[in-house]
Symmetry: C2
Subunit: 228 residues, 2 copies
Amino acid sequence: MTNKLNLNNLTKSEEDYLKALFQLLIEDSSVKVGNNQLADYLKVSPASTNNMIKKLKAKNYVVSEKYGKLDLTEEGKSIAVRLIRKHRLWETFLCNYLNFTWDEVHEVAEQLEHIKSKKLINELDRFMDFPEKDPHGEMIPNADGEYSILPKITLSSLSDGDVCQLVAVDDGSVNFLKYVSEIGLALSSEIKVLEVREFDKSIRIQFDNTIETVTRKFADNVFVKKVV
Amino acid sequence: MTNKLNLNNLTKSEEDYLKALFQLLIEDSSVKVGNNQLADYLKVSPASTNNMIKKLKAKNYVVSEKYGKLDLTEEGKSIAVRLIRKHRLWETFLCNYLNFTWDEVHEVAEQLEHIKSKKLINELDRFMDFPEKDPHGEMIPNADGEYSILPKITLSSLSDGDVCQLVAVDDGSVNFLKYVSEIGLALSSEIKVLEVREFDKSIRIQFDNTIETVTRKFADNVFVKKVV
DNA sequence: TAAAAAAGTTAGTTATGACTAACAAATTAA
DNA sequence: TTAATTTGTTAGTCATAACTAACTTTTTTA
């Protein structure tokens, strides 16, 4: 049972790749993930990705056949989930205790998630009284790596007259996050879809006595729960 | 004025070397620091140190002549102090909020001190209400890098009958720190020197109704303030 | 002060993880 | 179904930062 021993021996890069692959795999759970797609996501060259995938295959975190699509082993997934747990707990800490705003947390959490100390992250979790969601509304895995995935309905998938509640936002882009706060949207905001315009798929929405028109691209990054 | 720009462009290694050199320079402020000494301290080969010193000289953080002793420039010192500030603030956070013990904090703080975010560390400082000292009793530099150095009198420098108060301990060795807690010593403990034994320089001390004999090596790592 | 020891330097090697350029396989489109 | 495009792979290079081995300078001490 050399189970726990090799878990902490990963480099920052190896961790980044595993987490990225995990996120690509669940974001579009049906679609397969390829080498170049991963390279794009991580903003490195396909050659770099290919190289790293070889290493991760040798370490039994990734499986794939030559010229085939990529997948994670159970061990690979487990590492990725632990990284996501760390990332989201740190984001929560930064927002709730250190006055960080939505758009500021991601970059710092990207660094903090690589700190290696089980005690650190579990104590941080306890200190914050085991939060369920991070500041963007995403579920935080518990110490055993368990977490429920929230059904990701995008605002863009709704129709005229639908009423929904904002449950999460994609945390990938600083500019998007700034934009969300600027127009006054926040977690739990109740949003009414006034009109989906056929021409450019832009959406007219109402929330808190505000009426705004948002683009399709914007609405793709806003996750909601249907109310009506 | 390319002042603030290059400050964040240092690698983890470069930071480690600057901090190590700074600590060697103030620990024995009279004695000069050489290449091999720095290598010893960092547990790397003299060749590695030599190499890195070259790079740090090129970047104007270190000064030295060939075959001569090492010194830091003002900029080098400033970086080192900021690392020490981060290290000590994290140690304080870990001990005071996350249930870490004296001997557990150092290793994790060594990782955390390399996180690059001014806001993070300044907000952490504010969150803890600007602590003056870290858990080992060392002064924490403020956001401007200012801090008073506590006069470091070692327990080993005292004589029979002297009474002192423990103000700090060296945080370099986990085993030493465990030992200190185990025998019951803590910051502010009042210690009376009962006898310094000529034979092996071991010291018989009394504190809190406990009498213990400690070695010279142990006493070298305990910093005190004389009371009587 | 000359030999020995210690301290510092240089050259050459290794591993990690990026990169480009060239090429091969698979998929899509004409 | 062949040609074009996309995707994946390989080979070779570069930077960082460690290493050993060999060598030079400085310091110590006999």
